[in-house]
Amino acid sequence: MTPALSISHLRKTYRSGTVAVEDISLTIPEGEFFGFLGPNGAGKSTTIHCITGVAEPTSGKIEIFGIDAVKNYREARRLVGLCPQEFNVDPFANARQIVDWMGGYFGMKASQRKERTDYLMERFDLIPHQKKQFRELSGGLKRRVVLARALVNDPKLIILDEPTAGVDVELRRVLWRYLTEINRDGRTILLTSHYLEEVERLCRHIAIVSKGRVVREGTKDEIAGSTGGLENAYLIATGAEPDHVAGQ
């Protein structure tokens, strides 16, 4: 079966000379809920940018459901939805426009966009705020809009780069429920998060990256079970000291 995402020896060097991704290889089967962990600057966001077209890979190969994400970027991008870490949104556009325009870029007809936008506005409790400009919204509401935008084309592969950073518990739980539901429906999800509790609750498979390389990969049980919990496994893999060692 063709994997949802296949990354082979990805390397990304910025024009400044900084090597953000040294050598990353990953395979994510269709239907997986995949946690992509690592400290700040480990290369997670750069890898995501290379997958989605925001950054140009220096070398290596990325395939989305078997389609080359660089050579056949248009076909590949139809299958992906990205919720970025930063709010890359026109601050003067309103919440509904932001979601609707994204659907338009993906070639969705007006009736399809309306149906899908209505659904997402309701699902993320955005109806009272849908006519407000993005800049007028609170941090949590902004996050909901960006999430709705990522899901408007009902992508087969959903990439969430720290989607719950700075949001309240309520939205976090709404999002968890929704992600579990669409994953059960067959959607593949790649999630990065600094909340290990979130990753432990949602993901079945985990990769830990450090200094631009995958330093640990396996099922959640394999990783968490071997070292007495995901947090310890994460700290050991990234070269930091686990609590029980640091406390000695």
């Binding site: 140009e56 248009r74 139809r78 970025p84 026109d90 870029y105 993906f106 070639g107 399809q112 149906e115």
Partner: protein, 265 residues
């Protein structure tokens, strides 16, 4: 319910995506009507007043035309050039600055579609600006149209040329200061000495070659020919130059988009 994976769109032109780019930019333009349309129209109105009532009466006719009739096509062209350049350069720069250009980068849009989407709005803004000035001119009895097809050709082609230039500058700029440099050091000086206010004959003989070497002269000469039937150089020369610039700037813009210059990390 919409299912993205059921989308069965041929990988030809993403017309809906293109149209969405136009809708989005039109919405941005609608947020700034004073800057986009009212300012150039007021500026043209002042030109009509100054050159029609204040200065025009003291200047003899040029080629059988009143001075205001002679000047107005040039004023119209200046405003088209400004509208096109500012629309293209600010739109792409602002989207890079705020980073919402990433919405286009992650979408299934080709580079040609991204450029065409931007240019469509450029032409729309320039045409509305130009038609507004034309209507004012006609209203004050200061102009007419000799050839509608040529008038539209000059509006569309020149706005596209400066739209492409605006896109390139918008991709290159790293600050608002840089964004304004071409307007200050290139567009304004060249347009002012491009024959808006004078014929080539009025220039000292030794400086006349400067006008012939200035592309703005051919743009102004072209639209003046289309509006009042007065020209000082063969129209074919201006058409050839404009088409040549379209090709050169079009290929340059496409190459920059394809390389991700100023767009991708």
């Amino acid at each position: 319910m919409w299912r993205g994976n059921e989308m069965n769109q041929a990988m030809g032109i993403n017309w809906i995506g293109l149209y969405t780019m136009v809708r989005r930019e039109a919405s941005r333009m609608a947020r700034i009507p004073v800057q986009a349309f009212i300012a150039p129209w007021i500026s043209a109105l002042l030109f009509i007043f100054i050159f029609g009532s204040v200065v025009g009466g003291r200047i003899s006719q040029i080629g059988g035309h009143r001075y205001l009739e002679f000047v107005l096509p040039g004023v119209l062209m200046l405003n088209i050039v400004n509208a096109a350049f500012i629309q293209a350069s600010t739109a792409i720069y602002f989207s890079r600055f705020i980073k919402f250009v990433e919405e286009l980068l992650v979408a299934p849009l080709s580079y040609v579609e991204m450029i065409l989407g931007s240019l469509s709005v450029v032409v729309l803004r320039a045409t509305v600006t130009g038609i507004g000035i034309l209507l004012m001119g006609i209203g004050f009895g200061a102009t007419h149209i000799e050839s509608w097809p040529m008038f539209l050709f000059w509006i569309v082609s020149v706005s596209t040329v400066f739209g492409l230039l605006g896109l390139i500058v918008g991709l290159w700029s790293k600050s608002f200061e840089q964004l304004n440099m071409p307007v200050v050091f290139l567009l304004t000086p060249l347009s002012m000495v491009g024959g808006v206010f004078n014929t080539i004959e009025m220039l000292p003989a030794k400086l006349q070659w400067l006008a012939y070497a200035n592309p703005f002269f051919y743009f102004i000469n072209g639209i003046r020919g289309a509006m009042i039937g007065f020209d000082e150089a063969p129209q074919g020369l201006g058409i050839g130059l404009t088409l040549g610039l379209l090709v050169v700037l079009g290929v340059t813009a496409w190459r920059l988009y394809a390389k991700g210059y100023g767009l991708r990390e």
